[in-house]
Symmetry: C2
Subunit: 507 residues, 2 copies
């Protein structure tokens, strides 16, 4: 008998589907919930209506062993019970990402996670061919996080209709809209015709498929719940619809181990809501998400008060044209949370200043952030005849900075223990050491990053008797060259080029 | 008779030399003063002892016409009277530089002066061959101001003895000093042997020669009166010696039209003096310099209170590794005075972060400062086998930024009226217009500078009916290309490279 019970891998999704009642509005009129009980955990979850009479509950087990479940709710007059077995996780699946050591991240199984992310706001709402290309590009570059929206996006270079909508109904259509008038466009006076009481399951099913594809290539799905770039009215739904939407995405998406919740993109320019609304929604996720996925909120001009307890990490957009990643250590100190630089401008050549920095400057911002113990995010906005800009649509990468991501990630992964922090050392470079003070002292591990400055050499004066292995890192050309072993006072020659670093560790 | 009276050109130096008393200490025991009286001015000056029994008075006439003079003082039992005639200034001599239109500079005759300076701290204390080479380099680059010290400099790459000393006596010698120990060196415990009551006229005569050579090639001599880089004790003289030194340099140098007074380099790290001492000295110059030359004070870490009335313009050193020239508009607003960026780091490759920025970054800082209505300063610190770094010693220029100075100066000189200011326009570029609002409106003159950002095009939406001539400026490659004439809404194509600008003016 036992050999016939269902098996699921740890951190994978165990899903149950039931036919249920369809009279009235199944999205509102009925509920479905379940309890999953194993030796080490008991988890209550809510399910959701998936259309065509189907009710679904999902569960992500965090432990191995045998589980029982019990499914009930007004969707059915019956209660469904059963058992299943959780086997070892897939070798590449380490579970959801958690905050670790205050300023860093690790997967649920303890494996360190060094975030190097990118942004493609609505890549998943494009056609299948482009989606496949985006996934290939992500994998090639080595990104391990991507930010994207659940709702479609209306903005410059984003005037097409999406492949699907989150609600039943019909949009006004894009034929009225041009790059010249799109900012003045007011959805309220136009012919959008949505039934906000009925979700469009196909929209969410498709997003789930994309989340799963991301998981296969080791990419976290940083889901943007709300955003202001709108011609459909999705940025200003009635409050009860917004809460129903939160329930729906929690109940659908939370069982996917690679989900993060980004409460908003540019929260401060969404209409008709103050910080208390964001705090209410943030707390709502904290309370209702059974797996406690990471939660953040991303700014336009005004940085949210990241001391709010529902916020797991800082999600920071540049607030100054010139300095951005340099703010990392200040944000760490201010909030005592990991700092993710979810927009430090985009490499590209579009007309807007947020979307036209050189690749060198992007990579410099990556290293400035990473050496300060933060986690940089990439983006690309190159003018293109086909209107496919990575920043929103994914596709191919055209820049220079993405090629340097895997190299930085490799360097980060070589950190003894887990995570770097900036320490006061020289005034004219960023000195990163191990976050853990004992490890830092034991290993002497240290990276001095020189940013755009280009010393021809650097002098060191080590206060201990240790012998240090010294390497010269070219962050742009992605080379690590051994300089030799040294102790006491010594000099390390450098090529006098920008974007260099020196790494030391005790032999 | 009249044809035999001496002639001097306006803004040149009229000098009178007399043999006088030599008993005792002529530097202290006797004085010499003079009154120069023309139709439009009456100027009282003090003279100075020049050694070998010679007493000198100097006068710079600001007007043409006949002058009388009367020289007296305890140096002699006689009074000397005479007349001379001031003829038109040399075509290239426009007189001393003055503050003009609050934030800008003009020569005394009203000709606008756009400062593009450099720093060679002790170029004039090197050998004649190197001095000649420095002058050639200055002229080639097009710099029109140079900062340098009256006292010799002791610092890394500055360990040689100077060609002369400001006082009679003998130094300890440099044989004890190495690049490793120079910072610990304490002049007080060493064998310096100076007579602070006797200046060394040869030292000052030589500096005068250099000031005159600078004048010939149109370069202002921004004389640094005090500085902290010292092994001779000159940074911490007794107060009465310092005041006597101020008198001496005023009486000797003030008659040279191209002199500026920089009270200190890095005032905040000179020993044993608080701000009241600087204010006393600054006021002293204001009171005693008959020609009211420009006066400034230059910071290390702490910016001096530039609201002090003796300060004619802000002399600003970078206070942040990343942003510097971007502070210009804030400093203008705070102090209501011209802003001169007298150190925005050095192009080069030495080990120190202040001395190894790329040429591109230096030129970017020049344009950021200039487009904000400030006046950038250059410097160069390339490692060199002969130890000759432009920053201190002059010589040859090795970098890339100096080549772009004349181009920027040409653009600045094309400003209608006098001087630029930054106005709020687009958030993602610096928009410079004419300082004068009426001229700005009349001419529509405007430069949008894009810094390291690299838009592929920019859209404009002019609110008036004017036709605009539009040019694309490549600040790095030093080209100005006509884009055409436009009005209303229009788009200007750009090459998608950093360091570009667009210039508009009404046809």
């Amino acid at each position: 008998m036992l050999r016939n019970i269902p098996k699921v891998k740890r951190y994978d999704v165990f899903e149950l589907v039931y036919a249920g009642k369809t009279e009235g509005n199944p999205f509102i009129d009925y509920d479905i919930k379940a309890v999953f009980k194993g030796e080490s955990e008991e988890v209550e979850v809510n399910g959701f209506y998936d259309g065509f009479g189907n009710y679904v509950v999902r569960f992500m087990p965090s432990f191995m062993g045998e589980y029982e479940y019990s499914v009930s709710g007004s969707f059915s007059d019956e209660t469904y019970n059963g058992t299943f077995k959780v086997i070892a996780a897939d070798k590449k699946n380490h579970g959801p990402v958690r905050v670790s050591d205050t300023y860093h991240f690790a997967y649920d199984d303890g494996t360190p996670y060094y975030s190097v992310g990118t942004t493609c706001y609505v890549w998943e709402l494009r056609d299948d061919k482009l989606i496949a290309e985006t996934l290939k590009s992500l994998e090639k570059a080595g990104f391990n996080k991507i930010r994207f929206c659940i709702f479609p996006k209306h903005y410059v270079y984003n005037l097409d209709e999406p492949r699907s909508y989150p609600f039943e109904g019909t949009p006004v259509g894009s034929y009225l809209i041009t790059p010249e008038n799109f900012m003045e466009y007011d959805y309220k006076t136009q012919g959008n015709n949505w039934d906000f009481e009925r979700f469009n399951p196909a929209h969410f099913q498709h997003i789930e498929k994309c989340i799963k594809e991301l998981k296969k290539i080791g990419v976290e799905a940083d889901l943007i719940v709300f955003h202001p770039y709108d011609r459909w009215g999705f940025s200003n739904l009635p409050r009860e619809v917004e809460v129903r939407y939160l329930d729906y995405i929690i109940n659908r998406f939370a069982a996917f181990s690679n989900v993060w919740w980004s409460m908003a993109n540019e929260f401060d320019i969404l209409p008709n809501r103050d910080d208390s609304v964001w705090n209410f929604y943030g707390e709502y996720f904290k309370e209702h998400d059974p797996y406690n996925h990471l939660r953040s909120i991303h700014n336009c001009l005004r940085v949210f008060n990241h001391s709010e307890p529902w916020i797991t990490h800082v999600s920071y957009q540049r607030t100054d044209l010139y300095k951005t990643a340099e703010d990392t250590d200040g944000l760490r100190e201010k909030y005592g949370k990991p700092v993710v630089l979810d927009e430090i401008a985009y490499e590209g050549n579009i007309q807007c200043g947020w979307g036209n920095i050189p690749g060198e400057e992007m990579v410099r911002r990556f290293w400035e952030g990473a050496m300060r113990g933060g986690y940089p995010g990439h983006g690309e906005t190159f003018l293109s005849d086909d209107g496919i800009l990575w920043w929103s649509h994914g596709g191919k990468l055209h820049g220079e900075s993405w090629k340097r991501v895997k190299f930085l990630l490799k360097i980060l992964c070589e950190t003894p223990g887990h995570g770097l922090k900036k320490v006061p050392a020289e005034w004219d470079c960023v000195t990163a050491v191990c976050e853990d003070d004992i490890l830092a002292a034991e290993t002497g591990y240290r990276i001095d990053y020189y940013s755009f400055m280009r010393p021809g050499y650097r002098g060191f004066n080590m206060k201990d008797d240790s012998l240090y292995e010294v390497e010269v890192i070219d962050t742009w050309n992605m080379t690590v060259k051994k300089a030799g072993t040294f102790s006491g006072k010594f000099k390390i020659e450098l090529p006098g080029k920008p974007y260099m670093a020196i790494r030391l560790k005790k032999v």
